[in-house]
C-alpha cells in the first residue's frame, strides 16, 4: 500500500498545499502590516517588474505623442498667450523679489529663522494601481534622481501627497486622500490649526477633530501649516465643502475637497524636504536620528 508507483505520485494534496500557502501569506501580511519589515523585498521585486511597468506605459505615451502632434498647429496661438502671461507674471515676480528681500530684512530684524526655498524635481505619474481603493500612484523618478521617502508631491494647484516608498527608478506616492494619510493644515482665513486626513474616497478629505464651535465656514481654504517640518508652509491643500453638526458627537463632521488635481494631473513636482528636521538633543545617540525621521514621515 505504501509504495505508490512514481507515475501516480502527485505530491501533497491540494488541500495541504493551500493550507501551507494560506499560512505563509497570512504570516507575510501580519509581518507587513504590523512590523513594516519588507521594504527590501518590495524594492527588489519592484526592480524586477520595472521593465514591465515601462512597457505597460508605452501605449499611453504613444497616445500622448500622437495628441501632441495633432496639437502642434495650435502651438503658435499658445505661444502668444504664454508670452502674454509671461510678461504678466514677470511683473508679479519683480514684486515677489522685492517682497522676499523685504521679508528677509524683516526676519533678520526679528531674528527669526530664514525660510528656505524648496528645490523641486519634475516627475510624471507612471502608473495608478489596479485596486480603486488604493490611493497611491507611482512616479517615474526614484532614488537615482535623489528622491527620498517623506518628500512632498505637489502639482500646479496644491498638495497631492507624499513619497512613501522609493525604488531605484520609481517612487510611490501616497495621495492625501488615502485613509491613513494626514496633513497638518491651518485655515487660511483665521489661522486655525488642525489636521486634515483622507477619507479613503475619491476627492474627499476630512477634518476629524475640530470641535463643534470651531470657527470654520463652508468655502474656507486650508493651507499647510508647516508644523511637523515635512510640508513647507503655505501650500493649498483643500477647500471646506460641507459642515455637519451632529449634536450627539463632540466633533463637527467636516468634509473637504482637495484643491490639487489629485487624480487628474499627469505631471507633478517633488519638493525636497523643506527644512532639515529639528536637531536632536545632544545626548541621544546618532543612530536614532534616521529612524525618527522615517517614523515621522509615515505619521504625517
Amino acid at each position: 500500500m505504501e509504495t505508490v508507483p512514481q507515475f501516480f505520485r502527485a505530491g501533497p494534496s491540494p488541500q495541504v498545499r493551500l493550507f501551507f500557502f494560506v499560512l505563509l501569506s497570512i504570516l507575510l501580511m501580519v509581518m507587513d502590516t504590523r512590523f513594516n519589515s519588507f521594504s527590501e523585498i518590495r524594492q527588489t521585486v519592484g526592480m524586477i517588474i520595472y521593465p514591465l511597468q515601462r512597457l505597460a506605459h508605452i501605449p499611453t505615451a504613444l497616445y500622448d505623442q500622437a495628441g501632441e502632434l495633432i496639437n502642434d498647429f495650435r502651438l503658435t496661438k499658445e505661444i502668444a498667450s504664454l508670452r502674454q502671461q509671461y510678461f504678466f507674471n514677470q511683473q508679479k515676480l519683480f514684486r515677489l523679489q522685492m517682497l522676499e528681500e523685504e521679508n528677509a530684512q524683516l526676519r533678520a530684524l526679528l531674528g527669526a529663522a530664514r525660510q528656505t526655498e524648496a528645490k523641486a524635481i519634475m516627475a510624471e505619474i507612471l502608473y495608478v494601481p489596479r485596486d480603486p481603493f488604493n490611493r497611491k500612484v507611482t512616479l517615474n523618478k526614484g532614488s537615482f534622481s535623489e528622491i527620498e521617502a517623506g518628500q512632498v508631491v505637489v502639482d500646479n494647484l496644491g498638495v497631492i501627497g507624499q513619497i512613501t516608498q522609493v525604488h531605484p527608478w520609481l517612487s510611490e506616492v501616497t495621495l492625501i486622500t488615502d485613509k491613513d494619510h494626514a496633513v497638518p493644515v491651518q485655515v487660511a482665513r483665521n489661522g486655525l490649526r488642525s489636521i486634515v486626513s483622507g477619507a479613503g474616497k475619491n476627492n474627499e478629505l476630512e477634518l476629524r477633530y475640530l470641535s463643534v464651535n470651531a470657527d470654520i465656514q463652508k468655502g474656507d481654504l486650508l493651507i499647510t501649516s508647516g508644523i511637523g517640518g515635512v510640508y513647507p508652509p503655505g501650500l493649498p491643500v483643500a477647500r471646506v465643502e460641507n459642515i455637519e453638526h451632529d449634536r450627539s458627537r463632540g466633533f463637527a463632521h467636516i468634509k473637504c475637497t482637495p484643491i490639487a488635481g489629485v487624480n487628474r494631473s499627469r505631471q507633478v513636482l517633488i519638493l525636497s524636504l523643506s527644512s532639515p528636521a529639528p536637531k536632536q538633543p545632544e545626548e541621544e545617540p546618532r543612530s536614532a536620528a534616521p529612524q525618527e525621521k522615517q517614523r515621522r514621515s509615515r505619521v504625517q
Binding site: P14, Q15, R17, L18, F21, V22, L24, S25, I26, L27, L28, M29, M31, D32, T33, F38, I41, R42, V45, G46, I48, I49, L52, Q53, L55, A56, H57, P59, T60, I125, L126, Y127, V128, P129, R130, D131, P132, F133, N134, K136, T138, Q165, E172, D178, K179, D180, G200, N263
Partner: protein
C-alpha cells in the same frame, strides 16, 4: 452535454515557457495605466490566466507559481504583501479541485462557474484589506469579477491556441 464533452479535442501538453509568457502578458495588462471607469471594470487578468491553467493543465502549474505571481501583484499594487498571493493560491486551489467537473462543460457554460470563483477570491482580497484597515465596501468593487467571467471564453480561446492538435485526428 455529454456529446459536447466527447466532441472535445484532446489538447496538447502546454509548454511551461508559454505558461510563463502568458502570465507575463496578463501582468502587463494588469499594469496598464487606465482611467476611472475602465479601472473599475478591469478584470484581474493574472487571476483569470492562473485559473485557466489550473483548470486545463493542472499538472503544469503549481500553487507556488500562483503565490509568486501574487507577491509581484502586491508589490506593483503597493497593497499588503501577501494579499493577492493568498487570493491567487485560493483560485488555483479551486481550479485544481474542480477541473474535472469544469471540463465537462464548454467555455460559455463554464463562465458562470468562473464568476463564483472570481467573486470568492475578490472577497478574500477585500477581507484581508479590510482587516488591514484600508478598505470599505461598495457594490462596484465586485464588478471586475463579472467582466472577468464575461471575458473567460475569449481568454480561454486565446490561451488554448498553442495547445490545438497540429494534425487532423481523422486524417487516417
Amino acid at each position: 452535454m455529454s456529446n459536447d464533452y466527447l466532441g472535445q479535442e484532446l489538447p496538447l501538453e502546454a509548454k511551461s515557457s508559454f505558461i510563463f509568457f502568458s502570465l507575463l502578458i496578463a501582468l502587463l495588462f494588469n499594469l496598464l495605466p487606465l482611467q476611472e471607469i475602465i479601472l473599475l471594470l478591469r478584470p484581474d487578468f493574472v487571476a483569470i490566466t492562473l485559473l485557466y491553467w489550473s483548470v486545463n493543465h493542472p499538472q503544469r502549474i503549481g500553487m507556488s507559481l500562483a503565490f509568486i505571481a501574487g507577491l509581484v501583484m502586491d508589490v506593483s499594487n503597493s497593497s499588503i504583501l501577501g494579499q493577492h498571493a493568498l487570493a491567487y493560491c485560493l483560485i488555483t486551489f479551486f481550479g485544481m479541485i474542480l477541473h474535472r467537473r469544469l471540463r465537462l462543460f464548454n467555455v460559455f457554460q463554464q463562465a458562470p462557474q468562473i464568476l463564483w470563483m472570481l467573486l470568492i477570491t475578490q472577497f478574500a482580497v477585500f477581507l484581508t484589506g479590510m482587516l488591514g484597515g484600508t478598505y470599505f465596501l461598495d457594490w462596484y468593487y465586485f464588478l471586475p469579477s463579472v467582466t472577468g467571467a464575461l471575458l473567460w471564453p475569449v481568454i480561454s480561446f486565446l490561451l488554448g491556441i498553442p495547445q490545438k492538435p497540429k494534425s487532423d485526428p481523422n486524417e487516417l
